[in-house]
């Protein structure tokens, strides 16, 4: 036991002596370089400021240059990543700028006058049903105002304002299953009712048998519909269904002119609607 005790004392003194030697005597050039190399490999960071000179004493300049180059490389790699993110953001802004410029140009040529609004909220459970815009009663938005969207340099009917609040409004899209628009073909004598189905397609009903309707024809809002201004493009016929034996009219699938669920800005056209239509929104909400 005493032998072990003595041994422990000797070992303790020995290690204290070795540690003190390491502390007191400056490291040789090679030892210091190896140490910096090991510590830098595990923690690649150089100490700057007042401490820097102490840490890199005795280390050859060319080796330090390698470390500095590595540090510079790391900083530049980080900078490249930041710039890549900035480029992506700039591209998005540029795309938005082009889109807004195009839409603004189109709205200037539009006979209908109104206000621009941004789509601020969409409900995933009602994707083809409705969305909210950032304009409300304060901006002069009224219930049943026509909502126009723009896509690929064209204007098209997107829906109408269903609910108006102080600073925002809810828009009922034409694709909503409770929405319907009286449509006609420019120059044709018949009219039909384009009804939303809760999907991206509309269904046009009540087309008289024998009407000259074919795939690819463009439908516009009819003068017979009071809610929407006439002549506004609604959709394009995708498929004409043959007449069923028990019906005396034909139906057709219609694709909206604009992708209503991808709109980012819309143009709200306020119209002086007959007072009888004022309560329509309330009835629909019920």
């Amino acid at each position: 036991m005493n032998r072990e005790k003595d041994m422990a004392n000797y070992v303790a003194v020995f290690f204290v002596f070795i540690s003190s030697l390491l502390l007191l005597f400056p490291s040789t050039r090679i030892a210091q370089t190896v140490r910096i190399f090991v510590s830098y490999s595990l923690y690649p960071s150089l100490h700057y400021g007042a401490k820097y000179d102490y840490f890199v004493r005795n280390v050859p300049g060319n080796f330090l240059n390698i470390l500095k180059t590595d540090q510079e490389n790391r900083v530049l790699a980080g900078r490249i990543k930041e710039l890549e993110i900035s480029i992506k953001a700039a591209q998005a802004v540029e795309e938005e700028n082009l889109r807004l410029t195009s839409e603004l140009e189109l709205s200037r040529n539009l006979a209908l006058k109104g206000v621009w609004a941004r789509v601020v909220n969409k409900n995933p459970q009602d994707w083809y049903g409705a969305f909210f815009i950032n304009k409300g009663a304060r901006d002069g938005i009224a219930p049943n105002a026509t909502v126009v969207g723009f896509e690929s340099g064209r204007a098209g009917l997107a829906g109408r304002v269903l609910e108006v609040y102080q600073d925002f409004s809810k828009v009922l899209l034409i694709t909503n299953s409770v929405s319907s628009v009286i449509c006609s073909l420019p120059g044709a004598s018949f009219e039909g009712l384009a009804e939303g189905r809760g999907t991206w397609l509309l269904k046009m009903n009540y087309i008289p048998e024998g009407s000259e309707i074919a795939e690819g024809m463009e439908l516009v809002t009819s003068p017979g519909g009071l809610l929407f201004p006439q002549g506004l493009p609604v959709g394009r016929v995708r498929k004409v269904h043959p007449k069923e034996s028990f019906m005396n009219f034909i139906t057709a699938d219609v694709a909206p002119i604009i992708t209503v669920n991808a709109l980012k800005e819309v143009y709200i056209v306020n119209r002086d609607l007959p007072s009888d239509l004022a309560g329509l929104s309330e009835i629909l909400k019920k």
């Binding site: 072990e4 005790k5 041994m7 422990a8 070992v11 303790a12 290690f15 204290v16 070795i18 540690s19 003190s20 030697l21 390491l22 502390l23 007191l24 490291s27 140490r35 910096i36 090991v38 510590s39 830098y40 595990l42 923690y43 100490h47 401490k51 102490y54 840490f55």
Partner: protein, 159 residues
């Protein structure tokens, strides 16, 4: 076999410490695994082996850091000797006493190392947040490392 096992344990602890501090630091803070390993080794191992372990762990920390070389080696050697003296008078086997020992010895070793750095290199290595938080983290980890080392001693005759 025991020597190889001891060397493997030393390197495993060093690698784990490096990995933990490099990847699991929260706000730049992590328990000092090397310190708790040195503490556990000092409590469990025979005096000479405990001194060798602590000196080696100190050298490991000195190599990993770029501060005063030999500072941790001296600190941990003295800590091992201190624990060797304390073991005769105090029970350091219970988890509570390990927590208290880790708490106090972390503070003492930090201050000692700070004193060494200021005296010999005029460098202040101590960060306030580390000084305030690390003792508690070490105190929490110490019983776990002690248990692990005890199992190693029982099953593989290490330490």
């Amino acid at each position: 076999m025991s020597v190889i096992g001891d060397i493997l344990l030393y390197f495993f602890t060093g690698v784990l410490y490096w990995w933990w501090t490099a990847n699991l630091s929260v706000f730049g803070l992590a328990p000092d695994l090397i310190f708790t390993a040195a503490l556990a080794a000092a409590i469990i191992a025979r005096p000479v082996k405990a001194l060798i372990y602590c000196f080696s762990f100190g050298i490991c920390l000195d190599m990993l850091g770029s501060n005063l070389f030999g500072g941790y080696a001296l600190t941990y050697t003295l800590m091992a000797y201190g624990i060797y003296i304390m073991k005769r008078h105090l029970d350091l086997v219970s988890p509570f006493s390990q927590v208290v020992a880790a708490l106090t010895l972390t503070v003492v070793s930090m201050l000692f190392y700070q004193g060494l750095s200021l005296t010999l290199a005029k460098i202040n290595p101590l960060q306030l947040k580390a000084f305030l938080v690390e003792p508690f983290l070490n105190a929490l980890l110490a019983p776990v490392v002690f248990y692990f080392f005890t199992q190693l001693k029982r099953r593989f005759d290490l330490l």
